[in-house]
Structures are given as structure tokens and as C-alpha cells.
Amino acid sequence: MPQMFTPSPTLEATGPSTMTLNMGPQHPSTHGVLRLLLEIDGETVVRLMPDIGFLHTGIEKTCEAKFYQQAVPLTDRIDYLCPLTNNLCYVLAVERLLGLEIPPRAQWLRVMLNELTRINSHLVWLGTHALDIGAMSVFLYCFREREDTLRIFEMVSGQRMMTSYFRIGGLALEPPLGMFDTVRKFVNRFPSRVDEYENLLTANPIWLRRTKGVAYLAPEDAIALGATGPTLRASGVDIDLRRDMPYTGYEKFQFKVPISHDGDVFARYIVRVEELRESNEIVRQTLEGVPEGPIKADAPKIVLPDREKMKTQMEALIYHFKIVTEGFPVPAGEVYQAVESPRGEMGYYVVSDGSPKPYRVHVRAPSFANLQALETMCKGRLIADVVAAIGSIDIVLGEVDR
């Protein structure tokens, strides 16, 4: 009989004074369902082995059975802390295959919402990371501001988390009245709130002791292990796709890419906190002079027509019927589109065979890449440092397992 299941990996204690410790998949600080196999000597970690796959959703495979436009809501669920970034990456990939031109208004709104998503995701990271190290209040302060960003997402899309707001060829809807005012209020308030988090943490001696010099990742190791995003930038490697390979109009905005050369948990903390401020500045810039115009590309065979047109124009009704029932064919070819997600380089590799359904969708998940660096960070350190290190690489298990 063929073996149906791969047995879970096990770890045998190698030394006379070591023991193994199973951390997760149910554990308060493995951020979901990560399982870590630890070999420990006292409290010192000798070996560490991540065991993933507990949150495998099969989204990549499911995409192959959906029309191109139907796959957008699936991408929300991959990295559930930044659904709009997933949406963006996927629609950018398909738009490149289709050769669509996106109107400027849609691009600006995409940048704005993408940066709000980054703020949203970093707030969850900061809260849970601080909670892991024992600072309980920061968690609730962060969730207070996260609530504001979620309200903005709810305003534009009707959903707080699983937004699916970006569509192939533009946006789902024109943003509602008052949305820009809400965002402006948030942007004006937010920097003082970041100060508040920093007051509690940045100069706190206990926080410094727990994070400085902990879980060091050398720049060579970071590159060799494929670390990405803030984890890579905290090791001193200055790469940010928003600046280096601009997409959806990022080249129009001025922003700094915070880096640090320390490579420890504190460096990753500082880099992300600075990113919170920079993202806020980008959102502030997008608020100045949002271009007027359509929010969808002029491609009637691909983009769903307005409700109004469907009731007055026969062609619109026919296109609507065709797109919904048959999808739209995408020229055969393959494309890899990468964006800078809050966790690093997120890439969607989409292969088309000319039919209305993707032949293959593969996600290059930054969390998966960053997780590989965990053992290097934690070897020879204490269990408490493992917890700090997991928090500092900011993994989302939905994205690791897909």
C-alpha cells in the first residue's frame, strides 16, 4: 500500500544533556500554526526545525479552476494581514499578460490603499511582537489604530479584511463620499500614535535588553537564505521594490526606505516602525491631488460595465453576461510580478494557456523566505529569544503554507 501521508518530522535529542521541545502548532506565540521542533540544552537552543503545512489551503491550486477575475477573492486569504497587497500583485500580473493600461486615478488609489494596508499589517506585527515580549498594552493601542484602517477598507469595499477591492483593469467601485476626509483625519492623527508606541518601547531598558543583539542575521546570511523585506533591510541590504522596480505609479511619490545595519530584533523593530511613518507620508502625498477620471480601464471585454450602462446599452449587457459566464481569455504566456508587501518581496507567477482560467498561479511568499532564516537567528540562543525572533520576522502562516 502506498504511503498516504508523510509522517510529521521528528527530532531526536543528540546530546546527553539535551531534550526536545515541541513548540506549536498550538502555542501562544507561533503566530498561527507554526510548529517548531527545538532541541534544547537547559534553555539554550541547540537545533531548531520549523514544520509547516498546518494552514495549507490549496489556494494556488484552486486558482486553476477559477476564471481570472474569480481568483481575486482567493488571493485575499493568502496573506490575510495584507489582503490588498495580494490583490494588487495578482491583478498587476494578469494586467501585464493582458497589456492593460490602468487609469491614473485607479493607480493613485491603489497606492493609497496599499500603503494603508502596510500600516494595518505592521500594526498587527508591532502589537503581537510586543505582546510576545510581554508588553501587553502596546497590542491594544495598535489595534485601536488598526480599527481605523479597517474602517477605511470597509468604506471602500464593504469588507473589513477580505476586501477584494482591486479588480483586473482597475478598482471594484468608486470610493464613497467622505472617504478622503476619513483618510486625511487618520493620516494627521497617526504620527502621534506611533510616538505613543515608541514611548512605551523604543527607549525602554527592558525592551532594549530583550531585542538588542538578539537573533542576529548577518547581511551575507540574509542574502544567502533569501530573507526579504524589513528582515533584509534590517541587516543592511538596501532593497525595496517600491523604489527599485516601481509598479502602479510608486515612482511619483517621495519616500525614504529605512534601513539598519544591526541585523538584530531591535533593528527589525526600528525599520518597521520607520516604515509606519513613511507609509503614512506616502498616504499623505496620495491625498494631495488625486487625479479625476475613470477608475477602470477602457477594455469592455475584460472590465465589467457599469450598472447604468447595462440598463441602457445592449453591448454592455452582452459583455457583462459573457464575462460573468465565460470569463475572458488571456493571451498565452507567463509573467512574474513582484511587489513589496509588508513582509518583503511578494511575487505572483501566472501562466496562461490562452483560456479564461489560469494554467498555473504560484505565489512567492515573503514569509516563507523569511522563515528559513529562523534557525540561523536562533542557534545557541535562549527560548525567549526564539519567541522574539519569530515575532521579528513577522510571518503569516496563511502565506507560508498557501
Binding site: L21, M136, A384
Partner: protein
């Protein structure tokens, strides 16, 4: 050496027993209520610190929450994992709670009172070496934690109890030494005498509390050590939720868990009481008003000071992150202990010069 302050002329042994039983019942009731409402206060205050409401559904301001929690604990399934070493697994929480409740019996909360011709101190037993006994009992409480972790036969429990044992034994020393300065100044181990020494004022308005008479360093050493002794943030490593799940009480549920929980809060109250008695002048405070107010006020001042100390506990819990194990040990041995010893040396030098 141990001498009970029974005033034979006034109390026959029967009266003594009756009075003691009454006092024990009252003290137990008050302490358990205080424990329950310390939990409520903590949830409420931490909630306010964190922009939340805290409990507010059960009764006005959530005041009945402790009762609801108690009922929940009693009715929860009492799981005993099959792999535990049962005798010690059951004994450990009982030991923790019993020791935590015992130590409070030596804490005086006010002066002598006379009720129906019976004169008695406001504490269960007035012992001439009260402080020593309290320290002895609280250091025994490490057994509850150590045995719980060992008998659970679980790796997380074991790590938690190892941390707890090391931490409590280490900080015990700094804690004990930090009190020596006060003992040198008052020349007594009797808590009542130590408090009596702190009555009155210096320079007309500063209370003669030990904290104002040069023991301020000792007070802060005691503060830090007491936080570690009671396993509270920022020294709550034995039960560090995000690292060791729940530390030594991972495998406990229902009332057995509640016993550890109550023991922790009872220990907090004891630590706060000792700080009040030794550093903050005990029940001394402004007196005035009619006779009944004058009778109640000392107890009120005592309770207020204990409350202030507990408030500090909770405030810090809402603010600070947690130390790491090795940093905690380094802090205890390399920082607190030398300071406590230096404080003893300086205090004894000054006291010797004054004589």
C-alpha cells in the same frame, strides 16, 4: 524563642481560643475577598490602561465578576492528565495556597483593640519573630511551584518550574537582605514594634516612616525583589505565556488552577502588607474625628497603603515588557543583591555612629 503575646491576666485560654477562631474566620474572609477583588481591580485597571472597559457585564461595574469567575472555576472539568505523578500533582496547588494564606496570619493591620473587655491585637497571632516566620513561609512556597512543574511530567511545566525555583530562591536573598536595614534601625523582628517605631513626625511634617529615614534604596530593592517573588511582570517568566504556554501550571485546570491563581494574589497582598509595615509606616496616618472614626482610621490607612502598592503592581503590569531568564538572574545577583548589601552596611554604620 517564640513567645505568644497572651496577656494571661486578661485572657483565659478559652477566651484566647474563641477570640483567635473569630479572628481567623474574619481574616480568611477578608483575605479571600481581597484576593477576589484584587483580580477584579487588576482587570479593571489594566483594561482602562489599555483603552478597554474591563469587566462590566456582571453586576454594576462588573463587581460581581469575581463571583462569576469563582463559579466558573468550580464547575469547570477538573482534568488530571494520565501521565502526572498524582500525589504531588494534587498536593502542589494546596501547598501553594495554604502557605500563601498562612503568612497573612502574622500581619498586623492595626493597634490593640478592646471589645467587651477583651483586649486583643488586630492580627491573628502577635509573635516576637513575626517577620522571620513570614519570610520562612513565603520561601516555602517555592515548593508548590517546583513540585507542580515536576509532577506534571510536561516539558513546559518543567521549564516553568525550573525558572520559578531559580528565580524565587535568588530573589529571596535580595529581598531578605533589603529588610535587614529596617531591622537594624528598629532593633526588633516583631512587626508591631517595627510599626510603632515609625509613629510621629520628623521636622514637624515628614512622617517618621522608614522610607523617609534613609531606607528608600532598600524600599526599591524590596519592590523589585517582591515583584520577582510573586512572579509578576516584569519578572513573570515562570508563567510567561508567550514562551512557556502557562509555565508550571500548564497542566492544571479548574479549582487546582484557581488555587495557584489565588495563591499568587494572596502573595501579592502579603508582599504589599510587608512593604507597608516595614517602609510605609504601617497603620500610622492622620487621625481625627469622633472615637469610632479614630478606631477605623488606622485600618483604613493600612488598607490604603496596601492598595497603593497593589496599584503599582498593576500599573507596571500594564506598562513593561518581560525580562529574559538570564537577564533576570543577572539583575538579581549583580544589581539588586550588591545594593541590598551596601544598604545594610551603610545603615549599620550610621546606626553604630549614632550610638
Amino acid at each position: 524563642m517564640l513567645r505568644l503575646y497572651v496577656e494571661e491576666k486578661m485572657l483565659s485560654i478559652t477566651t484566647f481560643v474563641i477570640v483567635s477562631v473569630i479572628k481567623i474566620v474574619i481574616a480568611l474572609a477578608v483575605l479571600l475577598t481581597a484576593v477576589a477583588y484584587t483580580v477584579w481591580l487588576e482587570r479593571k485597571l489594566v483594561g482602562r490602561i489599555q483603552n478597554r472597559w474591563g469587566p462590566q457585564r456582571v453586576g454594576p461595574f462588573g463587581l460581581l465578576q469575581p463571583l462569576a469567575d469563582g463559579a466558573k472555576f468550580i464547575f469547570k472539568e477538573d482534568l488530571t492528565p494520565p501521565y502526572v505523578y498524582k500525589p504531588l500533582y494534587i498536593a502542589a496547588p494546596i501547598l501553594s495556597l495554604v502557605l500563601a494564606l498562612t503568612s497573612i496570619s502574622l500581619v498586623p493591620i492595626g493597634n490593640w483593640v478592646t471589645v467587651r473587655g477583651v483586649r486583643t491585637p488586630l492580627e491573628i497571632t502577635d509573635v516576637n519573630i513575626g517577620l522571620l516566620i513570614i519570610l520562612g513561609i513565603t520561601s516555602l512556597s517555592v515548593y508548590g511551584v517546583a513540585l507542580a512543574g515536576w509532577s506534571s511530567n510536561s516539558k513546559y511545566s518543567l521549564l516553568g518550574s525550573l525558572r520559578a525555583s531559580a528565580q524565587m530562591v535568588s530573589y529571596e536573598i535580595a529581598l531578605g537582605v533589603s529588610l535587614v536595614g529596617v531591622l537594624i534601625m528598629s532593633g526588633s523582628l516583631n512587626l508591631r514594634e517595627i510599626v510603632d517605631m515609625q509613629g510621629g513626625h520628623m521636622a514637624g511634617f515628614i512622617p517618621r516612616w522608614n522610607i523617609f529615614r534613609g531606607q528608600i534604596v532598600a524600599f526599591f530593592v524590596y519592590l523589585a525583589a517582591a515583584f520577582a517573588e510573586t512572579n509578576r511582570v516584569p519578572f513573570d517568566l515562570p508563567e510567561a505565556e508567550t514562551e512557556l504556554v502557562a509555565g508550571y501550571h500548564t497542566e492544571y485546570s479548574s479549582m487546582k488552577f484557581a488555587m495557584f491563581f489565588m495563591a499568587e494574589y494572596a502573595n501579592m497582598i502579603t508582599a504589599a502588607s510587608i512593604a507597608t509595615l516595614l517602609f510605609l509606616g504601617g497603620w500610622h496616618g492622620p487621625l481625627g474625628g469622633p472615637w469610632w472614626l479614630q478606631a477605623i482610621l488606622p485600618v483604613f490607612w493600612f488598607a490604603l497603603k496596601v492598595f497603593g502598592f497593589i496599584f503599582l503592581y498593576i500599573w507596571i503590569r500594564g506598562t513593561l515588557p518581560r525580562f529574559r531568564y538570564d537577564q533576570l538572574m543577572a539583575f538579581g545577583w549583580k544589581f539588586l543583591f550588591p545594593i541590598a548589601v551596601a544598604n545594610v552596611l551603610v545603615t549599620s554604620l550610621i546606626v553604630a555612629l549614632q550610638k
